[in-house]
Symmetry: C2
Subunit: 241 residues, 2 copies
Amino acid sequence: MDAIRKDIHNSDVPVLCKACEARHRGVCGALSPSQLQSLSKSASRKKLGSGTELMGESLTASSYSNIIGGVVKLVKMLADGRQQIVGLQFAPDFLGRPFKNESALTAEAATDVSVCSFPRPVIEKMMSESPELEHKLLEQTLKELDEARDWMVTLGRKTAAEKVASFLLLIATNSDPENDGESAEFDLPLTRADIADFLGLTIETVSRQLTKLRKEGVIEVRNNRHVSVPHLERLADIAGF
Amino acid sequence: MDAIRKDIHNSDVPVLCKACEARHRGVCGALSPSQLQSLSKSASRKKLGSGTELMGESLTASSYSNIIGGVVKLVKMLADGRQQIVGLQFAPDFLGRPFKNESALTAEAATDVSVCSFPRPVIEKMMSESPELEHKLLEQTLKELDEARDWMVTLGRKTAAEKVASFLLLIATNSDPENDGESAEFDLPLTRADIADFLGLTIETVSRQLTKLRKEGVIEVRNNRHVSVPHLERLADIAGF
DNA sequence: CGTACGGTTGACGAGTGTCAAGGGTAGTGG
DNA sequence: CCACTACCCTTGACACTCGTCAACCGTACG
């Protein structure tokens, strides 16, 4: 947390940001070293335990965050308690809904999560001054929109088996990015209840489909959480692509 | 209404744009009169019959458009032919996916539609020069993302009855904007098949739910297309809010 | 040792999909 | 003017997927 020690050469990029993924693939890539400097003054890194609420109707989203590690779920609830996960965010995604205070949406740490957060006003000022930042945000928003629409197909038109396979593929590509040739191996970041809420199913159906995949040899499972997929292509076939 | 009269002869605004909704509520509102001038040189207005494909894997989306009137559906298809409508666009929405040529998405006129279209390169040049335009696009994209996520809840967690009621409410608020107090009356812009693809149901289920609403007196239907809703609140209750 | 939590499995039933038949309306050609 | 076809929609009978309810297992924790 010894934040802003700018080294003589190698530029004025704050130490905190040096190795940060958000600077390479995330929105901070849009910022100049001096902007990073001023931003990092009000930035704070936090580690949050699984289950922590990051943003919600209660705490009126007073900050924006970059996700440094872990998985965040975006949840919507109906009046009677039914809920649907409408998005998963991984590092280095940007968390927060610009230009709006409410959101009717809850963001919750699905796993332990570390974030780098900034006060709303600071980001908003910087956005109005830096078109590059807005451009990055537009790109991320378009990406999220594409993902949301892809998932709508899964929710609306796929069977339970296809849904579970689609979910496993999604996690595989996001947790095991280098290994995306033939096989994959990863820990599920979500409980069965979360998976059900993401897929529009019940816990029981998710469980049954997972054991079905296990018995068919498509996946292996250890400790209910660790999954390995010997042949990703078999999963993809089942997922319906 | 007579907004941009800031100057000597207010007629720097192209005739075509004068009465255009896109200048008030759409993305063109971000443009100066001179930008509108240069844009309108390469703009073309078209009327398209219902069923026309506006953008798809085949015609590699060589243009962007503003919707002037009518309803456009955004469709995604699975390999085996199942399809899901992932969005409906009304005037004065902007149509087109910036920064990407493919899209894995088909845009099709659901009703007769009129659009104002522009060549891709012209818009992209103007976007890189005008932060206001990008800002408008960001706002529209965020709006679409919110709508997509709302719909994910409908797709994943609502029953057939709730889905159909939600759909009717959506159309009511988009087709009858002034009348949104107590009651509403409108023409459905979609066939039963389209509604089914939008709700993740079959034609038959949609039909059955509509007759159920009719028999319960929640809606009245004429010609299979014209719907009137005496008490919107009853619909909203059924929709699950 | 008891309790809480997350997960699995089974029996059953409700909600939707599937398949099939038929009605209404518009357009076309005799 | 009247078939004739095509399309959109409705309705019924039935099948099947998935949700509901309940019991049970394993692990972590006090």
